[in-house]
């Protein structure tokens, strides 16, 4: 009985360990030749095609909400001239990576998990291993790299669309002055903000693709298993990405002091 309880309590640690071991396998696979360039390009194209439009559509209201919130607040402080800088700061530092993580986990991750899961239950992965080809190197590595690449671009997309959305809402709906909005861009935000957004997106892409691949490759028990794998991969990725986002933000604030003046 005690044995059973112990094994149940320790099961999550075992899963975490297996996920980590899988991640190490993937990292090792990245440096193994031949690199599957074709698969990489195909996957990057595929991931981009399923994420670009939803990302843009999510980014607009994200920028708008920030503009509304910050705009109202800042008016009370009497610092309207800083509206632009506050919205840039919020979008580039936080909204960009968060929206990217949502889309990467929800759209790209679920697509990867479903694809690999279907291959797993159709015994395609077994067949591949039997044909002497390592599926991690052949399928997972190109997907992980493609996901990281696309995540960085998505982050840029969210930043641009979000700031533009904020501009429209601030100027058109709240009667802000266009000049002040644009002029204050660099008042608080700085270049490292952009770098950390890209770094975050890169890490999010890595985590989302690895979790999705791991769950997909370990799907079992027929079509229902694939559904479960997709579901689990999205939930696990969300949780991991939000935690990692917090940790990376905290580290960033330690490393880069906020701009004054």
């Amino acid at each position: 009985m005690a044995d059973l309880t112990a094994s149940r309590a320790l099961a999550p640690i075992g899963t975490a360990g297996k996920l980590f071991a899988f991640a190490l396998d993937v990292v090792r696979g990245i440096f193994r030749r031949p690199f599957q360039f074709r698969e990489f390009v195909q996957q990057a194209w595929f991931i981009a095609s399923v994420t670009i439009i939803p990302t843009a559509l999510v980014a607009i209201p994200f920028g708008a909400v920030i503009a509304l919130q910050v705009g109202g607040l800042i008016k009370q402080f009497g610092a309207q001239s800083f509206t632009g800088s506050a919205s840039v700061l919020a979008v580039v530092r936080e909204a960009g990576p968060i929206a990217t993580s949502l889309l990467i986990a929800g759209a790209a991750g679920s697509a990867i998990a479903a694809d690999l899961g279907a291959r797993k239950i159709r015994e395609e992965l077994d067949a591949m291993m039997v044909l002497g080809i390592d599926p991690i190197q052949r399928l997972v590595v190109p997907r992980v790299l493609a996901c990281m690449l696309v995540a960085v671009f998505l982050n840029g997309l969210v930043s641009v669309v979000g700031v533009a959305g904020g501009y429209v809402f601030n100027v058109v709906l709240q009667g802000g002055t266009p000049g002040a909005y644009i002029a204050s861009f660099t008042a608080l935000a700085q270049l490292p903000d952009l770098y950390q957004g890209m770094a975050k997106a890169l890490v999010f892409g890595l985590i989302a693709a690895i979790v999705a691949s791991y769950k997909g490759m370990n799907a079992g028990g027929g079509p229902k298993g694939v559904g479960d794998a997709v579901n689990e991969s999205v939930v696990v990725t969300f949780m991991l990405l939000f935690v990692v986002n917090f940790v990376m933000s905290a580290i960033y604030f330690q490393l880069v002091p906020p701009k004054t003046g």
């Binding site: 291959r119 395609e124 067949a127 291993m129 390592d134």
Partner: protein, 319 residues
């Protein structure tokens, strides 16, 4: 020329449930073997263990001096190039058409030119009777065609060992007979070691040189075809003749008291049906590993059931 597989003390369990324990056998080089067993006795698990897809708890599988249960991953991928495996549903890559599927191993492992690849692929497609279907996607063809395409892909690297996971499941009797004939012809042609996992007794009675029977979490018997077909061992006898009377029940195995009751009622196993002739290659030239009918029985002083080894005997079993 075919490669021998030496399996020693192999044990596998999932969690606390033992699948089979202490399986020891040698699959002889260049011969056709069939592994039989009631549903759910881990035949496919055994197959997957032989190619290193699953790790056994104990025991070893030695192929060309390498123990694949304990070797490094890189060695495992090298050893696997000796194998051709036909999976239950063909396991074709859904995103590629049949031609690319069959060409896949050649493109990955050899430096052949596209025209060489084309001639090899077309030869294998012809062998399995799929010429003209190269451009189809696996989703667009029937299960039987997928299976034959899987066979073409398994053969494309000229394997030394070919494993078949239930080649007859989901096929009609005619296609099954054609596939069986194809298996025998292939063995005559390429001399590879064949291991077929199935529960189709017709295949088991006519195709192989050797038969193994997995039952009740162990290997009940492994030996030449005639040895098992003339065996008086209740389990072997019941299974190979598809009878309801015997130790195997509807669930995994019958209860001891049910068996006891059967014995008290004096239920006797029906007499052994005659042993059929082994399927011969279609060109009539015997395979290298083929033995004349009745050879084993004569050598071991076993009298085969009357009517054995006659031409045109009925294929019917059961009773």
């Amino acid at each position: 020329m075919g490669v021998e597989i030496q399996i020693e003390g192999l044990t596998k369990s999932f969690g606390k449930q033992l699948i089979w324990g202490d399986v020891t056998l040698t699959v002889p080089a260049g011969e056709i073997c069939v592994m039989l067993g009631p549903s759910g006795t881990g035949k496919s698990v055994l197959l997957k263990t032989l190619i290193g897809l699953l790790k056994p708890d104990r025991g070893s599988v030695v192929i060309e001096g390498v123990d694949i249960t304990a070797c490094r991953e890189r060695e495992l991928y090298e050893i696997r190039k000796l194998f051709g495996v036909l999976f239950q549903d063909g396991a074709m890559f859904g995103s590629m058409n049949l031609y690319d599927n069959v060409a896949f191993p050649l493109r990955e492992h050899t430096r052949k030119s596209e025209s060489e690849i084309r001639s090899i692929v077309m030869e294998k497609m012809d062998l399995v009777g799929l010429l003209g279907a190269e451009d189809k996607l696996p989703g667009e063809i029937s299960g039987g065609m997928r299976k034959r395409a899987g066979l073409a892909r398994a053969l494309v690297l000229d394997p030394e060992i070919v494993l078949f996971d239930e080649p007859d499941s989901g096929l009609d009797p005619v296609r099954t007979s054609f596939l069986n004939q194809l298996i025998v012809d292939l063995n005559a042609q390429i001399d590879a070691t064949f291991l077929i996992v199935t529960h189709d007794i017709n295949t088991a009675r006519t195709v192989p040189d050797n038969i193994g029977l997995l039952y009740h979490r162990h290997l009940a018997m492994f030996g030449p075809r005639e040895m098992l077909l003339s065996s008086e061992e209740p389990v072997v006898r019941q299974f190979l003749n598809a009878q309801t009377i015997g130790p195997i029940g509807m669930s995994e195995e019958k209860d001891a008291d049910e068996l006891e009751a059967e014995r008290e009622r004096g239920v006797e196993l029906p007499p052994l049906p005659p042993i059929p002739l082994q399927l011969e290659p279609s060109n009539g030239i015997p395979r290298r590993s083929q033995r004349p009918p009745g050879d084993w029985c004569r050598e071991n002083g076993v009298i085969p059931p009357s009517g054995s080894f006659e031409q045109n005997m009925t294929m019917s079993t059961g009773g």
